[in-house]
Symmetry: C2
């Protein structure tokens, strides 16, 4: 057995779902947000801190780990969990998104992708089989298929070709997947074209994956188009399998995703903006480097229960960031991840109470106001 | 009452002392090493981690905090402890060393020092009175007097002038010191000239400070000359007051300092080298970025009990550092501070057992071999 998803309850008014995703490395209460450990580390943060925030699952990037430090050393150490000292769940993405967004001199054909490393310019050739093999070696709880993620905007014809290729590659990944203790999720493409989304989903569902991710969104399209795509998919995805929206971590979009039946999310947003001094609060984004906070002795967020907000002032955190102190980035990162963990907990409690519809109507305009207009 | 030093026992063979330094913010078992929080943060590390390592006292830099974020905001937040969220002991240095080593366009006269900020080139004038006032406002448990720290090498005449100025300034600092809940330590100068060391110590002891620091060492002189200076001072310093050797954090020098009666030490060495990927181990320094560790799944130090050595491999930490991951610097920093904390604990236990003489004879050649030749 690889994973098991138990659907606990559904919102009577919306598509929101409360569930538990069980893995060989503990259980994740869903809906959940997963911090991103791009290179095998959630930037500035360590495992005990993630556990303090009840983080059940993180995302590792296959593309990055494949290039550096390399898969062999991770496999030899006993797998990614052991290598990075993390005992809860891990998903590894396939690297598809990174190959299409980071790799230089990319050449794609139906068999696979040739690209050059963004680190040292070395040439690499990845096929669906090889990507699956690499993820088998990394040994995360959930592996992703190699997909073709077109940029936004792309023409209908381009997206159609990406959908068809994603389907063919998904089947090859499915055949190449050898570990019975590792789940494998497919990635639904289709851009903002409803019929292509449906086609991609149906093609992939026919192959009976352990779960389904929605890819190719949050790549620059207006948020409303992302929500439309989720509206299209919500009713047809299998009820008893987990649903994963890739690359989404903005508070407003998390709420909208949950409303449309998404169970798990990942995004570098909370950690990346934190390192630049931007934090999420009950009153929206706060850019802590601004001079206005130089003598502000209040916490980042008065209403936040995290140890950063209980122990440190805006003035101190601003000082640390301005003085180039790494601890400043630690504190803002911790806070942002805690903020999202607390938001997801609030959402789960609303679904559990059977009250998500009302919660959504109250919370959605607030989050849209504070987080809707910006990425 | 500001602080109290209780001498628990002395080594029957050497000058080593076991004691407890009590402050308004807890007690420090001595001999102890104090991590340096230059700008109000022990670089990459937070307070709970320092507490995990039983850190009883840290050092803050008056010069840095005065320039950025400024003393007023720290005072207004309730003092340095509150501002940086640290509940154990703090010493602030006077900035003397930084003024002489960092400040540009320095002009020194008997009244004080004019210097330009290394941050923005702004001009500043600090006198003994002003430095004392700044430290009163910071509110550390122990404040240091403004001293004149000459470079190494300096002529006898130069060092003599520095000693005389240090004495005059110490007296003015003593007069200006207003807080009864804050201790004040003098800084003994004299370079490597035994008669000047004795003169400086006697001058300052006549003013009855709460404790005595040995400054102007570990500034480039051969280690043997540093030990000679400590040999000179050991017998004459008051037995029931704490003795602080400034700027020393190399394992071999810590042991030699303890042997000569030093109670507390500070140095940026363990944290600075850690960020460059250099760690202290039972087998000496290890430069973890070296290619030889790329596939090394053993911990930084097999014999170390710290969470870093219990959870992470050399290969992973090397990967983090090479990939520019901040967590790598966190792990090496934590390990180095833990290594020194464990060394000091081992030393304290040897003194407590009445066994320090034997311990010293066994340990000293090993530490000299591994750490004696390098800074």
């Amino acid at each position: 057995m690889s994973i098991a998803y138990n659907l606990i309850t559904k919102c009577p008014e919306t598509g929101a779902r409360l569930g538990v995703l069980k893995t060989a490395h503990g259980s994740v209460q869903t809906p959940a947000f997963m911090p991103v450990a791009t290179q095998g580390s959630v930037k500035t943060i360590t495992s005990p801190e993630l556990e303090q925030m009840q983080t059940g699952m993180i995302l590792g990037n296959c593309y990055h780990l494949y290039l550096r430090p390399g898969v062999e050393i991770i496999a030899r150490s006993g797998g990614l969990h052991k290598f990075i000292n993390w005992r809860n769940g891990i998903i590894t993405d396939s690297g598809g998104f990174q190959i299409f967004s980071l790799g230089g001199m990319r050449k794609i054909d139906d068999n696979g992708v040739t690209f050059t490393s963004h680190i040292d310019g070395s040439a690499h050739y990845l096929t669906p089989e090889r990507v699956t093999r690499v993820q088998n070696m990394l040994g995360a709880d959930i592996a992703m298929v190699l997909d073709h993620c077109p940029a936004y905007p792309s023409s209908y014809e381009e997206v159609l070709r990406a959908v068809e290729r994603t389907t063919r590659w998904a089947w090859r990944c499915r055949q190449a997947h050898l570990r019975t203790d590792q789940a494998q999720f497919a990635v639904i493409q289709g851009g903002v074209y409803a019929d292509l989304r449906l086609r991609s989903a149906k093609d992939l569902m026919a192959m009976d994956f352990h779960g389904y991710a929605v890819g190719g969104l949050s790549v620059g399209e207006p948020k409303d188009l992302m929500y439309e795509a989720l509206d299209t998919l919500g009713p047809i995805l299998p009820e008893h399998k987990p649903r994963y929206l890739m690359g989404v971590g903005s508070p407003d979009a998390l709420l909208e995703g949950v409303k449309r039946g998404i169970d798990i999310f990942d995004c570098v947003l909370p950690t990346r903006i934190a390192r630049n001094g931007r934090v999420m609060t009950a009153d929206g984004y706060l850019t802590i480097r601004n001079a206005v906070y130089a003598a502000d002795l209040s916490p980042l967020d008065e209403r936040c229960a995290c140890p950063v907000c209980r122990g440190y002032s805006r003035a101190y955190i601003r000082h640390l960031l301005n003085a180039g102190e790494i601890s400043g980035m630690r504190l803002t990162t911790y806070h942002n991840l805690f903020y999202l963990a607390a938001l997801m907990e609030e959402i789960r409690q609303a679904i559990a109470r059977g009250d998500f519809g009302r919660y959504y109507r109250e919370k959605s305009p607030i989050l849209k106001k504070y987080y809707g207009g910006v990425v």
